[in-house]
């Protein structure tokens, strides 16, 4: 958790993480356009169970749109999404959430008026079922359910080391902590696939190291598959097992970090080409 953690330790591959398993999600020939603007053109890639998959690319490459397609916020015009073996034309947000896809957002999208505890509890919404009647009475089943989920949430609070801000409204928290609470909220859904949209944007070095450690722990201890968008190349290269590179809505490279790093197309996309 400090600056002394070496790069080697940060890399799951080097630490001997088990190789990724079966295919969890695959997008095939997905295209998405808004009117005349083509956000994503004919992209295919897969995410294997248990891996950390990075999606990178210059600004406006379509990375966030891709995440939005995966969890059903945008509906692609073409292509299919295969989630846990089931082929779909598109995802719906409710479907994605109840099927185990959780995400965090590039601009922190916490529920600002609620406390840290309530924010993370809100991640359990889909797992709580007591109806309106029991909720009104509170004593009895509703309270028991609340306590049961509170225990799970407290585990996450312990894991993320945010005990002290449990009852603080998140609007008052500093940015780095908000990002951490947002990760906690996504973890509370106990997802199979966790989509992280720039989890380290705007953080200082120490916060980035903390966040990297949390991401690795989530991946290795809980076995959660992670799809990650990030601009910090050091982080991406160290954390991820495989990398997809997008540019102008097209896929230009796909493979292990070293391979992608060496790809001429990627270098051209990031550094520009002389014409």
């Amino acid at each position: 958790m400090n600056a002394l953690v070496s790069e080697k330790e940060l890399s799951p591959a080097a630490a001997g993480a088990p190789a990724a398993g079966e295919e969890l999600l695959r997008v095939d020939n997905v295209s998405l356009s808004f009117g005349g603007v083509k956000a994503i053109t004919n992209i295919s890639f897969d995410i294997l169970e248990g891996e950390i998959r990075a999606i990178i690319g210059p600004n406006g490459a379509g990375k966030t749109s891709m995440l939005n397609v995966i969890n059903g916020f945008y509906h692609p015009q073409e292509g299919t999404i295969t989630w846990q073996g089931k082929v779909r034309r598109k995802m719906k947000p409710y479907e994605a959430a109840s099927n185990g896809i959780a995400r965090t957002f590039q601009n922190v999208a916490l529920f600002k008026g609620m406390t840290t505890l309530d924010n993370i509890m809100s991640g359990r919404s889909l797992k709580m079922h007591k109806n309106f009647f029991w909720q009104m009475l509170w004593r009895g089943p509703a309270e028991a359910e609340e306590i049961e989920h509170r225990k799970k949430v407290e585990d996450i609070i312990d894991f993320l080391e945010i005990q002290a801000i449990r009852k603080t409204p998140v609007g008052r928290l500093p940015y780095g902590l908000q990002k951490r609470v947002e990760l906690g909220r996504a973890l509370a859904m106990e997802p199979d696939l966790l989509l992280l949209d720039e989890p380290m944007a705007g953080m200082n070095l120490e916060e980035k190291e903390d966040m990297s450690r949390f991401i690795i722990d989530v991946n290795q201890e809980f076995g959660t598959t992670i799809a990650l968008i990030e601009h910090d190349m050091g982080v991406v290269m160290d954390l991820s097992d495989r990398v997809v590179v997008l540019d102008y809505g097209k896929k230009i490279a796909d493979g292990p970090p070293e391979e992608v790093q060496a790809s001429q197309a990627v270098i051209d996309a990031y550094l520009g080409v002389s014409h």
Binding site: A109, L110, F111, S125, K130, M136, R150, M189
Partner: protein
Amino acid sequence: MFYREAGQFKTSYQADQALMPIRQDRIGLAAILLIAFVAIPFFANDFFLTSIMIPFLVFSLAAIGLNVLTGFCGQLSLGTGAFMGVGAYAAYKLTTIFPDANVILMVLLSGVFSAGVGAIFGLPSLRIKGLYLAVTTLAAQFFLEWCFIRIGWLYNYNASGAIEIPHREAFGVVVSGAESSPLVRYFIVLTITVGIAMLMANVLRGRIGRSWMMIRDMDIAAELMGIRPLQTKLLAFAVSSYICGVAGAMMVFFWLNAAEPSSYSIQLSFQVLFMVILGGLGSLAGAFMGAAFIWILPVFLKFIPGVLGFDVAAEAVEHVTFMIVGALIIFFLIVEPHGFARLWQIGKQKLRVWPFPY
């Protein structure tokens, strides 16, 4: 000094997520309930009950209803008056169709009708947000008011166009109509208001309350976490309208005795909305404080010249009261835009750390 939580340790999640985790708060609430249920009935005269306490409680309940929708679910509504009207007319129809049924039950049942109407007018909320939604609820206000005037069946073709509350008994006591005693009415209104407020406090701290606040704070994130916006918003509209409907029915049954369509006009909607904003969006205690400010303060202000011995014309007192209340509203909104509930919170926080600044 006295308001400290030092030494109050919580050893279970049950204790930690209680409605009022601090002992002093619980004592305070018990004291307020004791005053409301014992002291006021014992000492208060009829004027105090009928002109201050009953309307205050009715408005408090309406403010709680609107608070569920606007303060907790973030859906701005200007149809409160009409939804209250639906409750009033539904209760009136129910009690004239079933004259022998318990009228208190009919009042509670009337909310079901306003909940249905509220849910229908809540449908646009899936597409429309904020001020634009307020405009569509305005349509509910005008349409329903038109119904109250034009559909004679609703007021039993009464020549005056108003609904007059018939004599009804429940549990062997006269509870509505001109002969009913203010004390009985006060107890009914108090019990219903306190009961609904407590049930809502439970709903609002659980899963359903959280799902409303999720929609309010960040609807996109809520949707991606599996909250279905339409169902959640419609539930908020239905619950809110149910509470407003009961408040509207109590307004005519236990306070006014008779009501015209204009009793449930847009003015009432605004009055309740101001109570909610001034009391504090998203706070049940705020609903009571807002209702007290808007309803009780003017009544007291009107008495001040007489008590001080000034001979002032009644109209002048009326106008001065308007001016003072208006100025106070502006003053409080500048001091604390989040309403009395926030002021109350800040005050409690200051008390906790007193005599230190923080």
